[in-house]
């Protein structure tokens, strides 16, 4: 009985066992097939596409980082440092890596002081800068702040302390208009420059020398290959190509003279340009009032900017190279030389000055500044006493075309080509200009007022200084330049900037000496208009000028005290010294100063005296200015 049941059980067991064993074999086959599929995928990744994934792996690991070059420094003629770089730490946020910048800043504000100005600057810059670039949140972190951030740095991915060199102008407002300043690269500049050349650099020259010499000052960016981890932290440097630092600029500019000029102008609005007639080197270039260029380097606050823009005195306006004024009587020596060169007049030939002048057949009276007139005047007296009638007649004799040619020879009506960015060219009218600009023909009366530096005629203080320097150099016009040499750190010998210019050939040597002697008598003569600046040690040649801001009617008399201060005449003065071997030529304008002789001449004299009374050999100043 038991046997069959055992038999059945045994059969069942056998069948069950076969069934499960079959299934287990199927499972084993599936396992092998699945592993083969896996190995096929691995073969695909590791053998077939190995090169592709190797490249990706290298791309992950290796990053190329720009090494920004150090910007060239700027030194004055004495070796005084005018533009420096100093290391600073700022806190920056890369917007690409931060989800909620506002919340991040709010959190940062709990460990660091972040004021309203910081927030506003951040808001402004985040719109200007590229998304992968760091936007500064805080500038000038001190050591304690850096340490405090470092403790919590892990909480702020995308926020980093960045060390960089920032431009600093130790003499601040004294150099603002010459050097210009650097500032953050804006969108307009971004389109103009080669972005790769500025990789890692946030700053670019915005004006003055900084802009004109941008290419030399900037240097060439370097690169390094670094191995980074997934969080972007540098593990080690693989290769590097060092940046080439920018070239240093060594200037003709003499910072002591620059400061002297600023002091001489004082609180008045105006400009002074001093040039060495032997080289065309600019010794001083001052525009007052000025501003602190350091405010602009890392982005000026809106309040500061509004204050500068809103000021009636326009401190941002570079009067020395962009201020265009009627040159007034300061042009008389140049016109006199034009007349001598053209042969329409001789130096001693006399004209009659009754105090007014009329064109033949016209009744309109062109008045002389001296109501009673100067009587019999030759060119000598006409320059010394600044007789208007003499020059009305000389201008009439020359006619507009020859007058234009004579003045253009001295550089009027065109940019001088100085190496300071932003220069304007003034306006020297001509028939062609008037037809083009006004659609009118030239009237003879306009020639007359051009003869005394009024009318359409506009010149910058720089143009006046350059023309005066050409006169001092007896007809050698030299393009003014501020930079004497540029020098790379590796250079043994600095490289001189190119001198350019031309000879004003029409006049004979005798004519130059006659006119210069007349200009010397402006200071030395008993009737000279600048008698008070006479100096016992050396001779000065000069010419005063007064230019009208406000035109008077035919019968009106000018009474300065009745006219509002800003409508008063501009005081001008051009001069050079010493007369025989000039070393300095100066042009001064004092806006609304009144008379040139009384107001502008002493300013020029102070600068000339400061320059000439110093030892002629320029010695490198030992100590640098403290910051």
């Amino acid at each position: 009985m038991a046997l069959p049941s055992v038999q059945v059980r045994f059969k069942d067991r056998f069948a069950e066992r076969r069934l499960v064993a079959g299934r287990l074999v199927v499972a084993g086959v599936v396992v092998v097939l699945a592993l083969m599929a896996l190995i096929a995928q691995l073969f695909h990744l590791q053998v077939a596409d190995h090169a592709y994934y190797s490249t990706l792996s290298e791309d992950n690991r290796v990053r190329i980082e720009p090494l920004p070059p150090t910007r060239g420094l700027i030194y004055d003629a004495n070796g005084v440092l005018l533009a420096d770089n100093y290391p600073t730490h700022s806190l920056e946020m890369v917007l690409d890596k931060v989800d909620d910048p506002e919340a991040t800043i709010a959190e940062l504000a709990q460990i660091l002081t972040i004021d309203e100005a910081d927030r506003r600057r951040f808001e402004r810059l985040r719109r200007q800068l590229r998304r992968y670039e760091g936007v500064p949140i805080r500038l000038r972190l001190n050591d304690e702040e850096i340490a405090r951030f470092a403790v919590d740095a892990h909480r702020f991915p995308g926020v980093d302390v960045r060390a960089e060199l920032v431009r600093y102008y130790p003499l601040a407002e004294h150099t603002a208009h010459v050097l210009g300043y650097v500032g953050r690269i804006n969108e307009v500049e971004m389109r103009r420059i080669d972005a790769s050349a500025y990789a890692g650099t946030h700053f670019i020259g915005k004006g003055g020398l900084e802009k004109a010499y941008e290419d030399l000052l900037h240097g060439r960016v370097g690169h390094r290959q670094v191995e980074v981890n997934a969080r972007g932290r540098v593990q080690r440097v693989l290769t590097s190509q060092l940046p080439v630092p920018g070239r240093d600029l060594h200037l003709f500019l003499d910072i002591y003279l620059q400061q002297e000029a600023a002091a001489a102008l004082g609180e008045r609005r105006g400009a002074l340009v001093a040039i060495d007639p032997r080289t065309g080197g600019v010794l001083a270039l001052v525009s007052r009032p000025s501003f602190d260029p350091n405010l602009f380097v890392e982005g000026i606050s809106q309040a500061d900017y509004d204050a500068l823009l809103g000021s009636l005195d326009q401190p941002l306006f570079n009067r020395a190279v962009r201020g265009q004024y009627p040159p007034g009587s300061t042009v008389k020596p140049f016109i006199g030389l034009g007349g001598l060169a053209a042969g329409v007049v001789t130096f001693r030939q006399e004209k009659w000055c009754p105090g007014h002048y009329s064109l033949p057949g016209h009744t309109h009276r062109f008045r002389d500044w001296k109501r009673g007139g100067h009587g019999r005047v030759n060119m000598e007296r006409a320059i010394v006493e600044s007789c208007d009638v003499y020059f009305y007649d000389l201008a009439h004799q020359l006619g507009i075309d020859r007058l234009h040619e004579a003045l253009a020879g001295f550089g009027f009506g065109a940019r001088t080509g100085i190496d300071v960015a932003g220069e304007l060219g003034g306006l020297l009218p001509s028939r062609a200009w008037k037809r083009a600009a006004r659609g009118q023909s030239w009237y003879p009366g306009e020639t007359l007022i051009l003869g005394i530096g009024q009318g359409y005629f506009l010149a910058t203080p720089l143009q006046l200084a350059a023309a005066t320097a050409a006169l001092a150099a007896r007809g050698e016009y030299r393009v003014p330049r501020v930079v004497r040499t540029t020098r790379a750190p590796a250079d043994a010998v600095p490289e001189a900037t190119l001198a350019a210019g031309h000879s004003i050939a029409q006049a004979r040597a005798r004519d130059w000496e006659d006119v210069i002697e007349a200009m010397a008598n402006v200071i030395e003569g008993p009737a000279g208009t600048a008698r008070q600046i006479r100096h016992p040690a050396y001779r000065i040649a000069g010419k005063t000028g007064t230019s009208q801001v406000f035109s008077l009617g035919q019968t009106q008399r000018y009474r300065a005290e009745e006219i509002e201060e800003r409508l008063r005449d501009h005081a001008l003065f051009v001069a050079f010294a010493p007369v025989a071997e000039p070393r300095i030529a100066v042009a001064v304008i004092v806006e609304n100063g009144g008379g040139g002789g009384a107001v502008a001449a002493p300013v020029a004299a102070q600068v000339i005296d400061a320059y000439l009374s110093r030892p002629q050999v320029l010695e490198a100043a030992g100590g640098r200015y403290d910051r």
């Binding site: 069942d12 896996l38 691995l42 990744l45 590791q46 994934y53």
Partner: protein, 375 residues
């Protein structure tokens, strides 16, 4: 038959009179020790040569091997008696987790027992094959329709509870454990085809019930480049690591993807990529060979088991081990979507290691507690 008897003797068997017989299967033990040793080397590199974490892993390994040896001493008949209770306890705890569970890493998986935090879903990976083996051993195979319906309920209840935690990886493992046991029990091929068709038809329904991040994983799997910094980052970096390893690898401790931290989860779910990067295809093939040896040994043991319960249990447990391996390596190489499953016995962490070792303890127990059949 004779072969089986001889093996039984060699394995220590149940021979009375022997001195302190240990119920261990030496080939399987050899495979496991070899795999764990290689795993420790890979892990040392993956944890950034941190001796602390290596020591932690060693301690867990020691514990897991101790459990393996302990469980191997329990006769399968005893396991069979405990099966239903164990399963019931597991499901009860899952329900408890649902109600009062501790949330870790955004998912509700843990049960805080005061001293230790315990993942009940881990228990189900073994309890489900055990209870199914118990169920099918009640009657001669193949299973009847009512048995299959009960089996389906046994699988689905815990799977649904685990999937809603949400823990897709574990739910998948538990489901496949159940499915594999049902398959081994002799589910007819026609039914398998039918269920396959049904599953394909139900896929859209499953899609509708998935969490957003789960859907995202599937989408990312289909096109990793669509989201290179987000969900696709894992797969892309992992493929870069493996692919850049080439045939011979970058050398031990020299994987840039892992050491520079481009590879996420490099000591846990993505450790296979570290292996591929540093040891190349050659290193991977060696490790896969060890895995294959373990799986085939497990299947062999299952085939040699004396009763249905032993066969189904050993086959099921061995195949879960393989599912672990394949889901993980498939994910890391980009064959399968990203599912959080560790590489068995190599990934850093103790939970799955303990489960697997206990499972292999049962497999050894099935092999070493055999009795001579009455002939």
């Amino acid at each position: 038959m004779t072969g089986s008897a001889r093996l039984s003797d060699l394995g220590g068997g149940s021979g009375r009179g022997r001195l302190a017989p240990l119920h261990l299967d030496w080939p399987l033990l050899f495979g496991l020790v070899l795999l764990c040793s290689i795993g420790l080397l890979v892990l040392y590199s993956a944890v950034g040569e941190d001796p602390e974490r290596l020591r932690g892993q060693l301690l867990r390994l020691a514990l897991a091997f101790a459990l393996l040896i302990g469980v191997a001493q329990i006769p399968p008949a005893q396991l069979r008696r405990w099966s239903l209770a164990l399963f019931a306890a597991g499901v009860a705890m899952l329900i408890l987790v649902w109600l009062v569970g501790d949330t870790g890493k955004g998912a509700q998986r843990w049960l805080d027992l005061g001293v230790v935090r315990f993942q009940p879903s881990e228990l189900l990976k073994l309890a489900v094959p055990m209870v199914l083996a118990w169920l099918f051993a009640q009657r001669p195979l193949p299973p009847t329709i009512p048995q299959l319906l009960v089996a389906a309920a046994i699988v689905l209840v815990p799977v649904v509870l685990i999937a809603r935690q949400p823990d897709l990886g574990t739910a998948l493992l538990v489901a496949s454990a159940g499915g594999l046991v049902i398959f081994f029990a002799g589910l007819s091929w026609r039914a398998i085809l039918l269920l396959g068709g049904l599953a394909a038809a139900l896929a859209p329904l499953l899609w509708a019930t998935m969490h957003d991040y789960q859907r995202q994983r599937v989408l990312t799997f289909l096109n990793p480049e669509s989201d290179p910094l987000g969900a696709g980052y894992h797969i892309i970096q992992s493929q870069i690591a493996i692919g850049s390893g080439g045939l011979h690898g970058k050398g031990w401790l020299h994987g840039t993807q892992s050491h520079l931290e481009f590879l996420p989860e490099r000591s846990t779910d993505f450790i296979f990529a570290v292996l591929g990067e540093e040891h190349g295809l050659v290193g991977i093939l060696i490790v896969l060979a060890v895995y294959l040896f373990i799986v085939l040994r497990g299947l062999y043991i299952a085939s040699q088991a004396q009763d249905t319960y032993g066969r189904l249990l050993a086959g099921g447990v061995t195949m879960i081990f393989f599912v672990y391996l394949f889901v993980n390596t498939g994910m890391v190489t980009g064959l399968l979507p990203v599912v959080g499953v560790p590489l068995p016995l190599i990934s850093y962490g103790g939970t799955s290691m303990v489960t697997i070792m206990i499972g292999f303890g049962m497999v050894m127990g099935v092999h070493t507690h055999r009795k001579r059949l009455p002939v």
